[in-house]
């Protein structure tokens, strides 16, 4: 007798094949989605960091005041101006899965600050222009660096 359509067995076999293909591809898709989520979080973090430094620098020129840099925690930074209301804060964004933290190199022995657009390191009784400052954005509790902020002639530059 001629069949008018698909049998239950045929549908089940088709579904099984689809399930098998999905089983193979879903982990790859998931990994890609996670990579995109991580890249997006890191990019957001680096753009925010760059703007944070650019704002402090801009204010150090327009307000003719120093802006002292400090690391508040592994995920937050601060530039302190002359008053409490003149302070700029930065907090690292968090992704759904991506958790990031900040690291400074070289490790701050003295404090850093912006003055007249220059990024300075405080020494004993004087200041020096700092050109080796690096701010690293890492995956939490690992050494994997995903982004770096450097300051070149006072201007923040990011790489990620």
């Amino acid at each position: 007798m001629k069949k008018n359509g698909f049998t239950l067995i045929e549908i089940l076999i088709s579904l099984a094949i689809i399930a098998a293909i999905a089983g193979i591809s879903i982990p790859a898709i998931y990994n890609n989605v996670m990579k995109i989520e991580q890249a997006s979080t890191v990019e957001s973090a680096m753009n925010g960091l760059r703007q944070f430094f650019a704002d402090a620098r801009s204010k150090s020129i327009s307000k003719e005041n120093k802006y002292e840099f400090s690391k508040e925690s592994d995920t937050s930074l601060k530039f302190t101006g002359s008053t409490a209301t003149d302070t700029i804060y930065y907090n690292l964004p968090e992704g759904v899965r991506t958790k990031l933290e900040l690291d400074i190199t070289p490790e701050a022995t003295f404090s850093y600050l912006y003055l007249l657009g220059m990024f300075l390191e405080e020494k004993i009784n004087y200041y020096e222009i700092e050109d080796n400052f690096r701010l690293l954005v890492k995956v939490s509790d690992t050494t994997t660096v995903l982004g770096t902020l450097t300051i070149n002639q006072g201007l923040p530059t990011v790489e990620f």
Partner: protein
């Protein structure tokens, strides 16, 4: 006789096509949802890049405005600086602006009040030596500040510009270059000594000394005497972009520092007319070509121009 309907044993092709079409609509809806998210992501990325570039542009024009405003000096105190033309304190070439200035506070001299400066070198502690009329203008807190001394009393041929550092409130002369002749009674001194103003930002520092170059022997105490050069700077490495920089030379310590004002510069031009200075910057909006969408992005560029009225 009623025909008995035969029971279907399988899905028909029509049913399958209907299901496929419905699935197609569903997939399109999901895809559109992702598309909206992607557009929002791109919008945010471009907004961040534009905000950063705009902050730098504003910063640059604000700095340029100040530089142009300060050009020149009071009392001709820097007319003896090398290469300084008092009639051309702002010099504009195609892509370079050079501004020279010394912001100084004029001090009127007198023969009185000599006793208020007991430690002044004996050579100058004579009846023919002049001192600032208002001693309070040089308090002890001005340690390491500089005065510019223009000895205009002498004939033009031997007159020299002197850089004189105030080391204490007693006005001991610590350092000078050129002819070391102070003030005499042979003429009427009036505005020949100017105390250089200091950058206001220095008031917020715990120490008032900045080492500008590792090899410098003297540190900068913030005296506002500059030769500023604003120009486009080519990248030194393949990772860098073209920058707009300002280099500030400070003649009192013979040193200089350079800061970058903007990166990703395409072009910078400065021109002048009889009434105006015009600065034009073209720059890439940075950040668009970074990250995982590297192959699927385009670089945006902007051109900004600003005019500054010449003062008489």
């Amino acid at each position: 006789m009623r025909k008995k309907l035969k029971r279907r044993v399988a899905t028909t092709l029509i049913e399958l096509i209907v299901v496929l079409v419905m699935m197609g609509f569903f997939i399109m809806m999901v895809f559109n949802m992702f598309n909206v998210t992607y557009d929002a992501y791109n919008f945010n990325r471009e907004l961040a890049a534009k905000t950063y570039a705009q902050a730098n542009v504003d910063n640059f024009f604000e700095m340029l405005e100040k530089e142009l405003m300060y050009a020149g000096s009071m009392g001709k105190v820097i007319k003896k600086l090398d290469g300084f033309d008092p009639n051309k304190s702002i010099n504009i070439e195609e892509s370079t602006i050079t501004v020279q200035y010394a912001l100084a506070e004029q001090i009127i001299l007198t023969k009185k009040d000599k006793d208020k400066y007991p430690n002044i070198e004996s050579t100058y502690s004579t009846e023919t030596t002049f001192f600032p009329l208002y001693p309070a203008n040089i308090p002890g807190s001005l340690t390491n500040r500089w005065v510019l001394t223009y000895d205009d009393i002498q004939t033009t041929q031997v007159a020299s510009l002197l850089f004189t550092e105030i080391s204490t409130s007693t006005v001991t002369i610590k350092n000078a270059s050129g002819t070391f002749i102070m003030f005499t009674t042979s003429s009427t001194p009036a505005t020949y000594v100017s105390l250089l103003l200091r950058e206001k930002a220095y008031d917020s520092l715990s120490s008032t000394q900045i080492l500008l170059q590792p090899t410098d022997t003297e540190k900068w105490a913030g005296e506002m005497i500059y030769k500023s050069t604003i120009a486009k700077k080519a990248p030194s490495t393949s990772n860098e972009s073209t920058k707009l920089t300002v280099k500030k030379t400070i003649p009192t310590i013979g040193s200089e520092y350079e800061i970058a004002l903007m990166d990703n510069i395409i072009d910078f031009k400065a021109t002048e007319t009889s009434d105006l200075y015009v600065a034009t910057i073209s720059y890439l909006v940075p950040g668009i070509y970074q990250g995982f969408l590297k192959n699927n992005t385009k670089e945006a560029s902007l051109t900004v121009s600003r005019k500054f009225l010449k003062t008489q």
